[in-house]
């Protein structure tokens, strides 16, 4: 069953001669529990696609439906709330909040939603990601790999419909990067967590269940299974 459906997404910057089509009629669908990699060269539009799916940016036209909810019809403030409840983000540069320690960063999305963390679940994530001994640390004191693991834990903590990871290994050395991807793959399977990951690293992409290739704002291969 598709948990994410993006139909005919277009994102056009500028006009006339300066017009740039970042996304040009992209349609994708992701089933629940799938671990999907979106691959493309720099400037191909893969990050733009991720931002549209995550509700961080609005497309010029098209629609994004997550768990049956059409994102473009939601107002900004409501979209933010939808995001924190349904989408987990893992950024290339981790984007942890510097004033919070590791534990507080992980449970932050739950706390700002006014909810209480599912302690058992959070503890499980922390255990899987090997963060037990770093919970009191401030983000600045962690290595890149550790910070990215915290970011993954934060993304998982709210049990989102989908995790969107934008070049999660981009700032890491290849070994650490591979460790992180293995962890993501492992939690994805363990918790039946839908994950869409952007990468330009073929080796890493190969670890996903499916690969969508994008070039010049269009899905060019691996997408026939999803394209309508």
């Amino acid at each position: 069953m598709a948990i994410l459906e993006a139909k005919d997404l277009r994102k056009i910057y500028g006009s006339g001669e300066n017009e740039v089509r970042a996304l040009d009629g992209v349609s994708v669908s992701v089933d629940e529990g799938e671990f999907v990699a979106v691959v493309g060269t720099s400037g191909s539009g893969k990050s733009t696609l991720l931002n549209m799916i995550g509700g961080l940016d609005r497309p010029t036209s098209g629609s994004v439906i997550i768990r049956g909810k059409e994102l473009l019809k939601i107002k900004d403030e409501e979209l933010t709330v939808f995001r924190r409840r349904n989408i987990g983000f893992v950024f290339q540069n981790y984007n942890l909040l510097p004033v919070l320690n590791v534990y507080e960063n992980i449970v932050y999305p739950i706390e700002i939603d006014g909810g209480r963390a599912d302690t058992e679940f959070v503890r499980k994530i922390i255990h899987i990601l090997g963060l037990e001994k770093k919970l009191r640390n401030m983000p600045d004191t962690l290595s890149g790999g550790q910070q990215q693991r915290v970011a993954i834990a934060r993304a998982l903590a709210t049990k989102p419909a989908i995790i969107l990871a934008d070049e999660p290994t981009g700032n890491l050395d290849s070994k650490t990067g591979m460790d992180v991807i293995l962890l993501m793959q492992s939690v994805s399977r363990q918790f039946h967590q839908t994950t869409v990951m952007i990468t330009h690293n073929e080796e890493i992409a190969q670890m996903a269940d499916r690969i969508i290739r994008i070039e010049d704002g269009k899905v060019v291969s691996g997408g026939e299974h999803f394209a309508r």
Partner: protein
Amino acid sequence: MHANRNRKAMHRVEKGMMKANRTRNIFAVFAIILTTFMITTVFSLGINYMENMELMQVRTAGTGADISLALPTSEQEKQIRSLDYVKTIGTQYMVGSVAEENDEGRKLAIALMYYDTTEWEDHFLRAVSNVNGSFPASENEIMLSEDALEQLGISDPAINMEIPLSYYDKNGSQERTFALSGWFHSYTGSGMGFVSEDYCRNAGYTMQEDGVLSLSLNKMPDDFWRIQEDVPLNEGQSFQGTVSMSSSNGSVIATVIFLVLFIIGSGYLLIYNVLYISISKDTRFYGLMKTIGTTQRQIRSLVKRQALRFACIGIPAGIALATAVSFGIVPLFLQQGFESGKSVMDAEVFFHPSIYILSVVFSAVTVWIACNAPAKKAAKVSPVEALRYHNFASLKRKSRNSTNGGKLYVMAFHNVFRDRKRAVLVFLSLFMGITVILGVNGVVGSIKGENYVRTYTDYDFQYIDTQFTQYEQDTKEIPQFDEQFVEQISQIDGIKEITLQKAVWSEIAFDEDVLNDFMHIAYEDSSYLSHGESYETMVNQLKSYAETGNYGCYVTTLDESVIEKYNNTHSQPIDMEAFLRGDLAIAGKDTEHNAPNAALVGKTLTLTADSADGRTADFLIGGAFTFDDYDPRADVGRRMNIEIVPQVLCVSEAGMERLTRTAITYNIGIDVEDYSQLEEIDGKLKDINRTLTTSDWEYISPVSILEEFDQMFYSLNLLGNGAALLLIVLGLANFFNVMLTGVIARKYEFAVMESIGTTKKQIRKIVTWEGGIYALISTLLILTFGNAFLLLVADAVPHIADYARFEYPVSLVVCLIAAIFVICLSVPSLVYRAASGETVIERLHSFEN
């Protein structure tokens, strides 16, 4: 080594940075303008204050000379002229005085003098204004002060106008018609007339018999002590200091230095904040520059060159603004509010190049030290760190044992203190800014006219029966104020207290045994001794007064507060109970050199009141007053000018009852509840005054004193209040700056928070909480350390002027704290709203690229 040919490239980068940071540039230049303006204003204020004070002293003294020596011998004159520390030596002759009376039969008080050219030009002209005509050149010419002209009834003087005068000179009574050679406005309040050198020569005036040497010395008061050692004086001769010996300039200089340091501190923090935040924001940029090979030195100079550009615009603009205010706007106000030249404190705005030199130097130093630390910080950015750098400032701590950091208010708290050094600087700048405002306002407020009135008047309003203040009162006193009059006054709204003092003339039984010590001491300083008359002659004369019933003095009632004050300051207290019972009388008044009244203490005087129901009663003299103990505005005079008698005897109400029940109310003191009502009450009192049919009374109102005071200190108040107002702007601008930059610099962080689901409303709540914490902590600092500082100011205030009285600026503190809360609670949220217009991803990208 390759030659370094990258100057052009650095210039291009600098240009680009200036273009890219327009808002920051505006803030930085604004901060420098404000700082320079403040510094210039304070210097201008300080220098003008000193100049005006000096001018006031010179005008009040009537001369710019420092000291004078009357009737110098030729030996002394020669000696003085040879002293190297004597700057100028002027000569004065006391020629005589005008012997005319006015229409009311009062003697005119016009002294006739001669000044030589040095005295006139170097010493006297500084002390006067509106000089018309010239100093008399021929024997029949005279120059008069405006006071003298007024006394003579001349309202429209003209050069060469004929002035017939009867006067005394050293050769006796004279009559002559002078030609008016000129006139001037003097500030001493006494009439002056000048005659020519020819007149003095022909009349036989000499330095030894009639002259005064008037000297200005190099260094006061040191040279004043020196000359007393260097020039031996004859008996009765002394060097008189004409200008106040104690220099009040010391405290002004200290105040100016203190204010300038504080402004430099505030300005430093303001400029530092702008640059620091800008550099924090540009950390990635600096890191990148280093990555591509820019040296630390080049980055330092890049930051400093930007600061230099700000200074090149900000400092001249600040000075221009201060100049416009000092020389444009202030005189404009002064013209409207000041009747030029008629008061001691003229509203002169002095031009001093030193003001500008000092201002430029201090402002430049402020900018230099403010940009130094941020420049170093930029230079030290590590390229690797910088590429990872996204945050406004990283937390210094390694770990924290908490689980509630995600709560909005906890996050806000952590945000405020995430960089402790910065937090301390911010709080310091906010606190200092506000404290300086309070301090300056406190000082300015302390020297207001109301305090002058409070210090120099016994009561807010006063009525004095002038019959009791005469040097000699020929007739028996007639009551001036009846009970109905007092009742009418008490009906006026806003009057707190009415104090009545009563008096009756009483004969003192002339008992030689009782008065012996008193008379002996009094004789030593009497005209009897100076005229060569013996003690016995004096006693005989006093006896003859006693025989005709004229040996006595005024007996007045006295408020017990005076006795309380006396008992607090003297080792031998007056028996208050006995005084209140009416058994005691206090004799007055002694001087430091001559204290005959003290010899009466412990003795009993028999008094008989001169009134319809006058009785005789014995009074034990329980104490003796000096002028310091009791110095009322309505100083009691004498009925007959008998020199050797207590000037006044003070008793309690009960004591007065023992003498008479019909004592005359001679002094009515009125205190008001609120000084803002002074003018209203003044009007009502004046209405009541019209109902009085008597005429030997004087009404003293603080309204005219206040007007005079306001006129005297108009320029100072204007400049002081202006400076205080600017400090408020500076302080609140600082708060605004901190709140604004605090949000703008964390734009990226907020975008991250939004990306993971924090709503804009929640972020607004966080920044509002942060503002609240800033406001709260600043308020706490103001109320603790700020108040401690105000206590120090309160302590220092009496050194500025003896009437200065510090009042805690309650309303200002409340208003400032309210303003701080309004700014801190509203600005962050508004700025965030304005800064978060772009989409989350646009904001994230703007930092990543």
